[in-house]
C-alpha cells in the first residue's frame, strides 16, 4: 500500500492533504469537523481554502454521527462535484449502512479517515476537554484504556476504517514527529496523484493494532458480561429504562434510526383517553410518559442489524441510560445470528431484505 509521511500533527496533515485537493481542483468542497465561534465545534462543508485553517478533524469529539450528516446531504441526489469527507471509522460504517438502506449515495465522495483513538462524551467539552488533550494523545499512542472516553469507544474493536480511501495512522503511532498517511484505494491514489514524487510502502495492519484490538475486545467482553442483560427480565428493563423521559434523543442521534416518520412519533403510538382507562382498569396505575420500555425494545428490533456501536445514543441521553452498551450487546448477538457485519461491505445485503429457504428452524414449528 502506498504511503507517505508529513512531518506535522494529524490535524495539519489532513489540512495539507485537503489543501492539495482543493488547490488542484480535485475536489470542490470539504466535509470535516471545524472549530467555529468561541471554541465550539461542528461539522462543516467548506469550499473556501481560507476556512481550511479552522478544521480540526481529529479533535476527539463527535457531536453528530457524520454518516447521518452525509446521508442528509446525499439522500435525494449524489453530490455533483467531488467532496472530500473526513470522518471516523464508525461514522463511515454508519454511512455504508445508510447507502444500503438507500438513504445516502457514495458517488463523488472521497473518504479520509484514521485509525481512531475514540472520542470524549460531548459533555466533556464544557468540563475542560482542552486540558485532557495531552493525556488523550498519549493514550492514542500507547493504545492504553482511557477512562474518560465514551464507553463505546473504549470497547470498540473496529477502529480501523477499512473502507476509507485515505487513512491516517494514529492509534498506536507516535504522531509527535509526523503523521503517516496510507493510500488505501485506487480512487485515493487518483486523487492524491502528484502530492509526492515518490511514495513509501506502508501497511495498515500491525502487531500494535492487534494488541490494541485485543485489549479493547477484552474490555468489551467484560463490559458486556457485567451488564448482565440476560438477567434483566421485565423488572430489569424497568429499572434501566424507567428513567427514560421519552425525549427520543437517542433515536434522533442514531445513524441507524433513519425513518422519516418514526412509529413512536406517529399518531399510531398515541393513546387516546379510552386506552388509558382500559390500562388503568387493568393495572390500577400507569406511568407517564408511557411506553418507555416498549420504545427501547421496539427500537432494538429496528436497528439491531445496523447498529455500528458509535455511542451517540448514550452520549445524548439526558438521564444517563447506558443505551449504547445495551444496544451494542444485543445487536452483536443479532448480527452474529444473521452472520452480518454492518458497514463492512456494500455488496452484503441488509438481513431484512433477503432470506434463505431453510434457516432459523429453531424459531418455527
Amino acid at each position: 500500500m502506498k504511503s507517505f509521511k508529513i512531518p506535522k500533527s494529524p490535524d495539519d496533515t489532513v489540512k495539507d492533504i485537503l489543501l492539495f485537493l482543493l488547490k488542484n481542483e480535485k475536489v470542490g468542497s470539504i466535509f470535516a469537523l471545524s472549530k467555529v465561534h468561541n471554541n465550539n465545534h461542528a461539522y462543516t462543508l467548506i469550499t473556501d481554502k481560507e476556512l481550511l485553517s479552522n478544521i480540526t478533524p481529529t479533535y476527539p469529539l463527535m457531536l453528530a454521527n457524520a454518516g447521518k450528516m452525509i446521508s442528509r446531504l446525499t439522500m435525494i441526489e449524489a453530490v455533483k462535484s467531488p467532496v472530500a469527507v473526513v470522518l471516523r471509522p464508525c461514522e463511515l460504517r454508519a454511512l455504508f449502512e445508510l447507502v444500503k438502506l438507500e438513504q445516502a449515495k457514495l458517488d463523488n465522495l472521497l473518504f479520509v479517515s484514521f485509525t481512531c483513538g475514540g472520542v470524549f462524551p460531548i459533555k466533556t467539552k464544557k468540563d475542560g476537554l482542552e486540558n485532557k488533550l495531552k493525556e488523550y494523545w498519549e493514550n492514542v499512542k500507547t493504545g492504553e484504556d482511557f477512562q474518560e472516553l465514551r464507553e463505546s469507544c473504549r470497547i470498540c474493536e473496529n477502529f480501523v476504517p477499512d473502507n476509507a480511501d485515505i487513512i491516517l495512522q494514529l492509534a498506536g503511532n507516535d504522531t509527535n514527529t509526523g503523521t503517516s498517511v496510507l493510500i488505501k484505494t485506487e480512487k485515493g491514489a487518483g486523487f492524491l496523484e502528484g502530492i509526492r514524487d515518490q511514495f513509501d510502502e506502508g501497511s495498515l495492519e500491525s502487531t500494535t493494532l492487534d494488541t490494541i484490538r485485543g485489549k479493547r475486545k477484552e474490555r468489551k467482553q467484560k463490559t458486556f458480561a457485567d451488564l448482565k442483560t440476560e438477567d434483566f427480565g421485565i423488572e430489569g428493563l424497568i429499572n434501566i429504562f424507567g428513567r427514560c423521559i421519552n425525549c427520543h434523543a437517542c433515536s434522533k442521534a442514531c445513524p441507524a434510526c433513519y425513518c422519516k416518520l418514526c412509529y413512536f412519533e406517529s399518531a399510531d403510538s398515541e393513546s387516546d383517553p379510552s386506552t388509558f382507562e382500559i390500562e388503568l382498569k387493568k393495572r390500577k396505575a400507569i406511568r407517564l410518559p408511557a411506553d418507555t420500555v416498549f420504545y427501547h425494545l421496539g427500537r432494538l428490533t429496528h436497528v439491531g442489524f445496523t447498529c455500528v456501536g458509535c455511542g451517540m445514543c448514550s452520549d445524548v441521553c439526558p438521564t444517563n441510560i447506558p443505551v449504547s452498551t445495551i444496544f451494542s450487546k444485543v445487536s452483536e448477538r443479532i448480527q452474529k445470528a444473521f452472520e452480518y457485519t454492518p458497514g463492512k461491505d456494500l455488496e452484503e445485503k441488509v438481513p431484512m431484505s433477503i432470506f434463505e429457504m431453510k434457516e432459523f428452524e429453531d424459531v418455527e414449528d
Partner: protein, 141 residues
C-alpha cells in the same frame, strides 16, 4: 370459571392459511381452549416485531404469529421475512431475559384445522406452566 384462569394469547393469523385453518377447525366443531384472541392479517409478514412487543407489554400471556408453511405463501415469500423478523424478536427476548416461551411462530395451512387446535392447545398448556405474564402487575412501563 375455567375461562378466567386461562392464559390469554394474542394470535396474528395470516388470511390465506392460518386464519382459514382456524375457520376449518371451527366448522369441523373441533374443541380447543378459548384462550386465543385472533387478529387476521393479510400476510404474516405484516406483523412488525413492534406488534409482538406491544401485545407482550400490554399483558398478553402469549403471542402467536402464524402463517402459511414455507414455500406456500400466498405472496410467494412473505413468510420467509416473517421468520427473520421473528428470529430477531426472539433473540432480543433471549438477550434481555424475557421469557421466550411466551412467543411462538407456527406454520398452519388452510387444511390443517386439527393442527390449529393442537398448536393453540399446546401453547395454552405451556403458558399455564409458565404462569401469568409478570408485565400485567407492572405499572411502570
Amino acid at each position: 370459571m375455567e375461562e378466567k384462569t386461562l392464559p390469554r394469547i394474542l394470535g396474528f393469523l395470516c388470511k390465506w392459511c392460518s386464519s382459514t385453518g382456524a375457520d376449518l377447525a371451527g366448522v369441523s366443531r373441533l374443541k380447543m381452549p378459548a384462550s386465543l384472541i385472533p387478529i387476521r392479517v393479510m400476510c404474516s409478514s405484516r406483523v412488525n416485531p413492534i406488534f409482538v412487543l406491544k401485545a407482550f407489554l400490554g399483558g398478553a400471556d402469549g403471542v402467536l404469529v402464524s402463517g402459511c408453511h414455507p414455500g406456500d405463501c400466498h405472496y410467494q415469500s412473505g413468510n420467509y421475512y416473517t421468520r427473520r423478523r421473528f428470529a430477531v424478536t426472539k433473540k432480543i427476548f433471549e438477550e434481555l431475559g424475557l421469557d421466550t416461551n411466551r412467543i411462538r411462530l407456527s406454520w398452519i395451512s388452510a387444511s390443517e384445522g386439527q393442527r390449529f387446535v393442537n398448536v393453540v392447545t399446546e401453547f395454552t398448556e405451556n403458558l399455564k406452566k409458565v404462569g401469568k405474564n409478570p408485565v400485567k402487575a407492572e405499572v411502570f412501563l
